[in-house]
Structure formats: C-alpha cells, structure tokens
C-alpha cells in the first residue's frame, strides 16, 4: 500500500495534525499493522518537500510543536492520478508453495503430506478470518473477504496440485 497516497487522500477532507492522520489511518486501514509515528512524520516531510502538502499552521503549547498539514492542488492531482491507475495484478509466478512441492518430489519426501499440512493451515486462518468477519463491521468484513478469496484461490490450487501429483512427479523426476 502507498502510505503517502493514503495519507494525502485523508487530507483531502481537511487539514489535520500528524497524530490525527495516524489515528484515522489505523482505524480505517491499519487493522493489523498500525503506522509508527516515525513513518507518519517521515512521509509528511517527503510530501512537504515534493509540494504535495503544506503546513497549514503550527500549534505550540507546553509540549513539542504540532504542525497541521493541508493538501495542495498538486497533492489533489497526485491522489487522483493514483486512484485512476489500476494496480498491477500480482502474477504469483514465484510461488514458495510450488517450489516446496517440486523439492519434496525431487528429494523423495511426501508432497501429499506437505499439501495436506498447508491445506489445514489455510483453513485454520480462514476460520479465524470468518470469525472476525462475523463479529466485525462492514469495513472489517470487506478486508477479511479480500483475504478469504485469496486464501480460497490458494486452496483450489492445493486441491488441483494434489490431484495432479502423480503426473508432476513423473515430469519432475524424469
């Protein structure tokens, strides 16, 4: 995820302090990976340097100075360009799972056991996500669905590979 673009996008609704940005980011996108303060301030420094944000005001109370950031016209254009640009689909051609299956066959280990163990692990995670989805709000449901569909795709590959193990073994070990 592009943290810079996400923080810029959050600024479009109005100027915010770094702390507010972090809190909003964590609430909406950082369920399992909250931002570090250092990440927020280093990102804002970069955006400031590139003219995508500007300092809207500085508050100095008893503690350290707090900058309030506002998005610039260039920043709004940058967010628009980023949103309009389709993400490159991940081809997953360098799969660790595939490598493990081939290595198991090459070394005379049980590829079927490997696939079964992986299948159980995938389903275990799917149960956790399904449970979280059941208890969560709509945002949680959408995030979990995204992960669940990817895990399901992996599982279908595991099933298909299990059904083709004999042929694969013959080709790999030829």
């Amino acid at each position: 995820m592009s943290i810079g673009h996400t923080l810029l996008g959050l600024l479009e609704s109005g100027p915010r302090h770094g702390y507010d940005l972090k809190r909003t980011f964590d609430e909406k996108f950082g369920h399992d990976r909250p931002l570090h303060y250092g990440q927020v301030y280093s990102t804002m420094s970069r955006l400031l340097k590139n003219g995508l944000v500007e300092v809207d005001g500085i508050e100095s109370g008893g503690g350290p100075e707090r900058k309030r950031y506002a998005i610039t016209e260039a920043g709004i254009t940058d967010v628009g360009t980023w949103l309009a640009q389709p993400e490159k689909p991940e081809p997953y051609l360098q799969s660790t799972l595939y490598t493990k299956v081939v290595l198991a066959l090459l070394t005379g280990r049980s590829a079927e056991a490997l696939l079964d163990a992986q299948r159980a692990e995938h389903l275990r995670l799917m149960r956790i996500l399904t449970d979280r989805k059941r208890k969560g709000d709509l945002a949680d449901q959408l995030i979990c669905d995204h992960a669940l569909f990817h895990l399901e795709a992996d599982l279908r590959w595991l099933e298909l590979t299990a059904a083709r193990l004999d042929r694969l073994a013959a080709e790999v070990c030829a």
Binding site: D116, A117, R119, A120, H122, L123, R124, M126, R127, L129, T130, R134, L148, F149, L151, E152, L155, R156, E159, A163
Partner: protein, 228 residues
C-alpha cells in the same frame, strides 16, 4: 470404537454401488453443538458418507452409532423415526414442498411428529423470524427467491429441535452474499441450540464456518487436524 463424548460416529464404513466403491474405510465422529465440514472433490464419497450417517443409505460394512445405539440394529421404522425426530436436513435446492406455504413447510416435521397445527405453525413462525424470512411465511416456495427458500429450508431443519443437522452443499445454488448469510444463520442457530451440523461442501469459504473439517478422498476420510 465410538470416540468419547461423540453424538454420532462411524467406524470403517464401506459402500459400493455395483463395482464402484464409494466409501472405502471411512470414519467420522461429531459432538453435540459441533459443526464439522466434510470436504473433498466431486465423486470422493462425501455425499455417500452423509447419507450413511443419516441412515438413508445402509453401508455394506462398518458401524454407525448415534447416541449409543447402532443404526444397523434398528428397524427401518426406527430409523425413519430417528430421521424425523432427531435429524434435520438441508439440501442444495431446498426441496420444499411446492404446494405448501413456507410456514406450512417449516411446520411439516412437527406435524408429522404429531404436533397440533396451531402449535406447529407458531414454532415455524419463530424459526422463520430467526432466519430473517418471516415476511415470506404465507408465500409458496415458487414465489420466493433462492436465498429466501434456502433460509426456509434451514428453518424447517431446525424447527423440530433436532440433535443433528445434515447439510449437503447448502449454499451450492446461492450467490456469495446469500450463501454467507445462510451459513451465518445456520451455524449461529445450531451452536446456540447445541445442535451438531454435518456440513458437506466443496467450498473452502463455506467450510470456514465449521469448527473442524474432515476430507474424503477416494472413499477414505482424513482428519488432518487430529492426524498430526
């Protein structure tokens, strides 16, 4: 041997259709309130396993024990009574009676068990409400959507207070959203009433609503979590 605390168990089941083996030493067990997914590719024997466990099909060999009693020791009438009073069923296409309204469909197992019409329909309406389809009670199955019909089928399966529900691809004919809601409602209702659910599915996202899964391949079962 019956696993300790299990409500329904099967040990070394064999079943062939002609010369084609459908089950080849399959075993299974489920506890009260547990949701167990039976997974496997098409033709692996998972539906045959479900039919044997439910007493619909008699295995060629092996034992099935329900609440301490062997199914093979029961008469046909006793097995029918067991299916009517202790078991509930949900199939891929609902299989509701088209001539009856949805309330009457849900009330049907209670009526067959001897309940008065008024009492049976009161219970039916309670379950329709719980499955969020109380508005379709007066309609016939042909007048409701696939998702609504499947929820009515789940309500019918739960209405007679069964101990075990057999669900064979219960979301197979539904879109993702309807399928998920049916699974949420089915598993929530089953867990809160301590009903065991044998859930046959080939979809991992449906199986993820279960507590554990058993895989059937070539007529043999593998319980991966318990095998390790």
């Amino acid at each position: 041997m019956t696993p300790a605390g299990s409500l329904l168990s099967a040990d070394s089941l064999y079943k062939s259709y002609g010369s084609t083996p459908a089950l080849d030493g399959a075993s299974f067990s489920i506890h009260p309130g547990e949701v167990v997914a039976v997974m496997g590719p098409s033709g692996s024997g998972k539906s045959t396993l479900l039919h044997c466990l439910a007493g619909i099909v008699t295995p060629d060999k092996g034992t099935i024990t329900y609440a301490g009693r062997e199914l093979s020791a029961m008469s046909d009438a006793e097995r029918s009574a067991l299916r009517r009073t202790e078991f509930g069923f949900v199939f891929q296409f609902g299989q509701l009676v088209p001539e009856l309204t949805c309330v009457e469909n849900v009330a049907l197992p209670l009526r067959l068990g001897g309940a008065r019409r008024k009492d049976a329909e009161r219970t039916a309406r309670h379950w329709l409400e719980r499955l969020e389809v109380d508005t379709v009670g007066a309609k016939r199955p042909g007048e409701v959507s696939g998702g609504q019909g499947q929820r009515v089928a789940v309500a019918r399966a739960l209405a007679a207070s069964p101990k075990v529900i057999f669900a064979d691809e219960p979301t197979g004919a539904l879109d993702s959203l309807n399928g998920e809601r049916v699974m949420e409602l089915l598993t929530e209702a089953a867990r809160s009433t301590n009903v065991a659910v044998v859930l046959v599915t080939h979809e991992a996202r449906v199986a993820a609503y279960s507590d554990r899964d058993v895989t059937v391949r070539d007529g043999r079962t593998r319980d991966l979590e318990h095998a390790v």
